[in-house]
Amino acid sequence: MTKQMQETTDFVAVRRPSVLSMVFQFQSLFGLVAVFVAAIVFSPSRNGDLVFLSSGNLFNVVRAVSEIGIIAVGMTFVILIGGIDLSVGALLGLAAVGSAVLLVENDFGLVPAVSIVLLVGLVFGLLQGVASAVFKIQAFIVTLAGLQIARGLARIWSGGQGVAIAYGDGPGEAPMTFSLLGERTFNGLVPIPALIFIVIAVAAILFLRGTAFSRHVYAIGGNEKAARLSGVPVTRVKIIVFGICGLLTALAGIIHAGQLNQGSPNDGIGYELDAIAAVVIGGTSLAGGRGSVLGTVAGALLLGVLNNILSLNGVNNDIQLLIKGFVIVVVAGLQQLRPAA
């Protein structure tokens, strides 16, 4: 994490006009394109068609990254203000458990259940925001504690075991609508979670470009003191950002429960690293103030494509680890090849 004070020209919180700079603003897409091309080259083929490129497979990739992707969108906000959120994996578990318990054991309707779970995620995030912004405890510590608390709550709420979700209209059954989360639409092609991910991502991209709030977010990450002196409501923005991350994580947790037809207190273990990885590979700086949701989406897809093509080729799992490691470094290294400042 070098401090790029003097020489940085690549990020500006607003679009830049020249063609060259356009290309480099989207440099995080480079890695994705490179990995995508490699995936095509190495794709196994069947009946002359490339398996990797079949629409079914591509949607599988998007589906597989959708939960991490949604969380990573929220994580992007947190990292942009110079924070970090380690609690997301555990909070996803809590949300998945909550969905299952409320729908199945408490027989809540779809809307109340989903609303409550989203509210839980939001409040959890806001509380972490308060601890970090008001009490000025490093976000790393706050959310590390949050991780344990969320995991503990999930275990208590579920009684330690996964809560299975059965569908139907009877008591102890979740409404059929909820099962849509595990389904595909448009002729069984497009997985619903992938759709949700895309909607969230597009909304977040637009949101982070055009709104006053997003300017505040970038400014806080860029120089918190300057932001405060410029009249940015720093504390409030920080709290809200953690709230957004919590809310999106809860959404991912609901999707998780819907996809897997169960909510287990162990869901989401280790997701925090995956989400942070997507953000950082997408070119967002852990120091805050620089980055984009578009980059994050590219980062998440890159990791998904990589996993997918390695699995499609049935590559030995140990070798997969090596390849993933090297590809990640190389992609990140390529991103450094920008026009010298």
């Binding site: 079914g56 075991q161 996964g162 595990g182 595909r184 998780h256 996809q259 897997l260 869901d267």
Partner: protein, 315 residues
């Protein structure tokens, strides 16, 4: 657990600690249960079984520790139990070798030790209770070879966490019994025991190997994940899935077989109930227990799933 017990009375059953610890029905006993990783449903159920069974023994108080899949942590957990001077240790070790020394230490302090599921090395423990994963793998292979693919065919394997003994043994046993049956494992991927990993791996497997007809997963959660992937690809009816564990809980394999998502599962008994029974024998009844109690597995298909589930839950 619900398997029948084949007690191997041949093993060395000299338990020097037993008499010292046995205070009869009048005593009060603290039992330490060191679990390798409650994040696995199977192990959570093991703890739950112990808890439930111990409720029937008023003299027992059971304390649970969770090593979160870390050998070093489990060593500390046992150390802490010894500091608390527990009267009996139940341990389901994360791995054999690393826990051997500390188990021996407890045993040498005259604390009776019951080892569940995975083993430790040597014989410095009071008794081992568990099932045979190689045998389970064999039965799974036999079921595939005889019931699902009598004429041979291609299958995929989704394995447990690389490096864990059950993953290795379930793979080995399976291969043993499909040998020469014209069945080919065309692809084998690690699913780390996790449902979502099973789903993700199966997604890719179904794309790259559309000609497989069975997915053998090393546990039920991964088999369920694979089923979800197949359903998304519209292949849930043409493919067959088999898993292992058969936990009698709503999210477990018995229900999945009953609902027809899995063709079969094999019971992997938790040994929880048996452990408490043995503990009672040692501490309350002042009896000896066999060194080895191998619990039997059971093949579960749609035919017996409902009944086994009911029986396991006291129905």
């Amino acid at each position: 657990g619900c398997g029948t017990t084949s007690e191997n009375r041949g093993g060395g059953t000299q338990q020097q600690g037993a008499p010292a610890n046995c205070k009869g029905p009048a005593g009060k006993y603290v039992i330490g249960m060191s679990q390798a990783n409650v994040a696995e449903p199977y192990r959570q159920r093991m703890d739950d079984d112990i808890r439930a069974a111990a409720r029937g023994v008023p003299q027992f108080e059971v304390r649970f520790a969770d090593a979160q899949q870390d050998n070093a942590r489990q060593v500390s957990d046992v150390d802490n139990f010894m500091t608390q001077q527990i009267d009996l240790l139940i341990i389901s070790p994360n791995e054999a070798k690393p826990l051997t020394a500390v188990v021996k230490k407890a045993y040498d302090k005259a604390i009776p030790v019951l080892v569940l599921d995975r083993k430790v090395e040597g014989d410095a423990y009071t008794g081992w209770i568990g099932a045979d994963n190689v045998e389970i793998g064999r039965q799974a292979g036999k079921y595939v070879a005889e019931q699902l693919l009598p004429n041979g065919g291609k299958i995929a394997e989704i394995r447990g966490l690389a490096g864990s003994t059950p993953a290795k043994e379930r793979g080995d046993g399976f291969r043993e019994s499909i040998r020469g049956r014209n069945i080919e494992i065309v692809v084998s991927q690690d699913g780390d025991w996790l449902r979502e990993k099973g789903q993700e791996k199966a997604d890719a497997i179904l794309k790259s190997n559309p000609d497989i007809s069975v997915i053998y997963a090393h546990n039920d959660p991964m088999a369920e994940g694979a089923y979800l992937a197949a359903r998304a690809a519209g292949k849930q009816d043409t493919l067959k899935f088999i898993g292992i564990d058969g936990l009698p809980i709503p999210s477990g394999g018995l229900k999945a077989v009953e609902a027809g998502r899995l063709s079969a599962t094999l019971i992997y008994p938790t040994a929880g109930r048996e452990a408490v029974e043995s503990a009672k024998k040692i501490l309350v009844d002042c009896q000896q227990i066999p060194k080895t109690q191998t619990l039997q597995t059971q093949l579960i298909t749609k035919a017996n799933a409902t009944e086994v589930y009911a029986r396991a839950n006291g129905g």
